[in-house]
Structures are given as C-alpha cells and as structure tokens.
Amino acid sequence: MREYSGAALSSFIVGLSEHQAVVDKLVADSGVDRIDPEAWYDIEWAFDLFNKIEKKLGRAAVIKVGRSMTETAVYPPEVDSAEKILSGVGSWWALNARGPGIGTITCEWEDEHSAVIECTAYRNHCTLMTGILEGACMRYGITPLVEHGPGSCIQQETGDMCVYRVSW
C-alpha cells in the first residue's frame, strides 16, 4: 500500500490556515476528523484531497501551500542553500511517502542557476509541485522561475513524468 506521511499532510493543511473552514469541511467530508502528524495516510486519499482543495480554492492557493510545505519543513543543518535543497528534494519525498511505486524526484543541474527536476511523484499535482520547488528556493531568499517543461506531463497524460526547470 502506498502511503503519505501525516506530517507532510499536516504542513499542507497548516499552509491553508486562511481557508480553515473550507479545508476542515473537505477533510471531514473525506472521512477524517483531524490529520495526525504521526500517522500515515493512503496516498490516493491524500492526492484526492489535494485535488478537491485545488478545485475549491484555486491554483494560487495550492502553489502557496506547496511553498509553505518546503519553506517550513525541518532539514538537516548541512542543507543550507537552494542548490542543496533542490538536490535533496528526492530524499524529502522519500521521507514523506512510502510503499511500492511511489515515484521519484531527481535533480540535475544545467548550470549554477538552473536545475532540471524530473518527477514521477505527486502524480497529477503539477501545481503543488511548482509551489514545493518555489518554496525550496524561497527558503534561502531566492525567488525562482519554475517552468513545467513541454512534451511530458502526467496530469495532461502526455508522458509518464513531469519535468520542471527551476532557474533564477
């Protein structure tokens, strides 16, 4: 069974504190009273919740949540730059999801200010992933340009991975 961590889900929910009533209702409608940061949740259930929230609150709100997820996450002290956090975003995913076929996030640098991120995790959630990548850089005072590469997108069913180009 594929699962998503309650801690990551909690930070997602905390990021939506401005819309607390709407989020509480959506979570309750999904059959859960409250998110337990110590628990693990069915990943399809979590992704379905992301979908509902995006549909209800719009793309901008989900990008903002993605940003806050990586801006506020706890990292080891050696992760002290945008470059290191982007390089380690795959490990961050591996800490927050478990089970067979959860997907991966890899980072490859084109130059010192441009990285290509290949993602098979967060399927159908390009908006959230864009926010996560923005947040990773903003944590270190960098406002990046995050572009979804053309030609392949899981959400649009034009490929089996999403590619993001992060540059600043």
Binding site: V116, E147, P150, V163, R165, S167
Partner: protein, 287 residues
C-alpha cells in the same frame, strides 16, 4: 565582408542547432532539429546583416519569428534565454575579436525583443484563459439559475393548481372554493380546468365559493361573469356563494350586474339549491 566564413558559419549553425535539439524537455526538443536549424540559420543571417549594416532591423524580425514558432511548442522563459545565451557564446568564440562587442549588443537586443514578445504573448494567453474561466463561471451560474427557475416555476404551478381545487361533491355537482386573490391568470386557469371537469363529469351545477377571496372588485366580478358564461355554454348553471356583506356592497356600488347567476349566502345554501336543481335531497340514514 561577412562576419563568418562559410565553414565557421556551418560550424556555428550546426553546433547551436544540436545543443538546442538535445536540450531535454524543452520547446526545442519537442519541435525537433529541423525547426531549430531554420531559426539558427535565420538568426546567424540576421546577425551578419545587422552587423554589416550597423542596424537591428533583421534581428527584430527573426526574434519575433523565433518566439512565435517555439511558443507553439511550449517555449518557456528559460528556453528563450538559453537560445540567446548559446548563440552569443558560440558566435563570440567563432567571430573575429573586433566584432565581439557588436555580437554582444546584437544578442542583448535579441534577448530584449524576444522577451518582450514572449511576455506579450504570455499575457495574451493568460487573459484568454481568464476570460475562458469567466465564461465557464457565468455559464455555471446561468445553469444554476435555470435550475432554480425551473424549480420555482414548478412550485408556482403546484401552488396554482392547489389554489383552484374542483371538488365533485355529489354526482352532477361541482364545488369550486376560491382562496386568495382572484386575478386574470387564475381566472383563465380555472376556466380551462373547470370546463374540462364539467365535460368529464357531466356536471349540471357548479358552486363557486368566493368566501376565501379577500377583495371581490370589478375585475374579479367581470372574471366570474365571463367564467359563468363559459360554464352556461356547456349547459351547466353557476351558483355564487360566500358573498360577504362588504363584497356585496362593493358590487352594488360599482354597478356590476351578476344577472343570470344564482347567489346564495353560504355554501350549505348553495349546495341545497344545487341539489334542488338536480332534483336530489340529502337524507340521513341509520346503519
């Protein structure tokens, strides 16, 4: 004199084209090598012409054409800067040293023009998306309003039907209690339903009880008279009951003639009169 000799030019076009086409998940790799080659050749031509003429006219044309072509393949801003940076880097390497400043300026201008055009096109696309979302929102609101209107119309229809009941109390006798304002719409509805009911039940007497009509004015009286005429054409009689003293006074003051219409004070009186017309009477029986 040309900026590049033939072999240098070929090398420049070839190396830039290959790097573009190999750029992963970019508008260039999506479009394929041939469009990349066409635009690199056009850019190098323009660079040579502009450098020779000391203008930037050819650059503007190729920058706009480049942006338009690759936007259709998902051009992003990082792709756009990659193209100009790559061209600048390779052209500077291969051109004579004294031309490097001119190449630098040309590439800078190319980046400015293509970025401006890119932003204009992106802004246009965003506006179209926003307009489309507005249309979808308005259509959704319109659909909701239509559903609400249908529900309201059905409810009103239900209320109208409930407000003009026709009760066949005794064979041949119909009782129609009118409750609420008796306006033209209700009169038309009642006429239609009553004539149908008379035809189906072969009723000979219809008792119109107006005790529930708050104001029985000229208009209401005229409507009742017209209704009675229609009923009489089917061979049935109309008995008007439930006339209040106030309504009776009003009708006299207004000079409305209720000729040819039997009036009774209460429903019981009207029913007794109707039974008499039918040559029937109520008798009590013991079981």
């Amino acid at each position: 004199m040309s900026l590049f000799d033939a072999s240098t030019r070929t090398e420049l076009v070839s190396s830039v084209t290959q790097r573009l086409a190999k750029r992963r998940m970019s508008a260039f790799s999506v479009a394929g090598e041939e469009p990349c080659r066409v635009h690199v050749e056009a850019a190098v031509d323009a660079l040579e012409r502009d450098t020779e003429a000391g203008t930037a006219e050819a650059m503007r044309v190729v920058a706009v054409a480049f942006t338009n072509t690759f936007l259709a393949h998902g051009l992003g801003y990082s792709d756009l800067t990659f193209f100009t940076r790559l061209l600048r880097e390779r052209a500077r390497e291969l051109a004579p040293a004294h031309q490097r400043a001119a190449i630098e300026q040309w590439c800078y201008d190319h980046l400015v023009v293509s970025t401006t055009h890119f932003m204009v096109q992106r802004d246009d696309a965003l506006q179209r998306e926003a307009a489309q979302r507005d249309i979808e929102r308005f259509e959704s609101q319109l659909a909701e309003l239509r559903v609400a209107l249908n529900e309201k119309t059905q409810l009103l229809e239900l209320i109208r039907e409930a407000s003009t009941p026709i009760a066949p109390v005794v064979p041949g006798i119909l009782v129609v209690p009118l409750v609420g304002t008796f306006d033209r719409f209700r009169a038309e509805l009642l006429t239609e339903r009553l004539l149908d009911a008379i035809g189906q039940s072969r009723a000979r007497v219809t008792i119109l009880d107006i005790s529930g009509v708050p104001v029985f004015d000229t208009d209401a009286a005229q409507l009742v008279i017209r209704l009675a005429r229609s009923v009489r054409l089917l061979g049935a009689k109309v008995i008007l009951v439930g006339m209040s003293p106030d309504n009776a006074r009003t009708i006299v003051e207004l000079g409305v003639a209720l000729d040819g219409m039997m009036t009774c004070r209460a429903l019981q009186d009207g029913l007794r009169a109707a039974l008499a017309i039918q040559r029937l009477k109520l008798v009590s029986t013991e079981f």
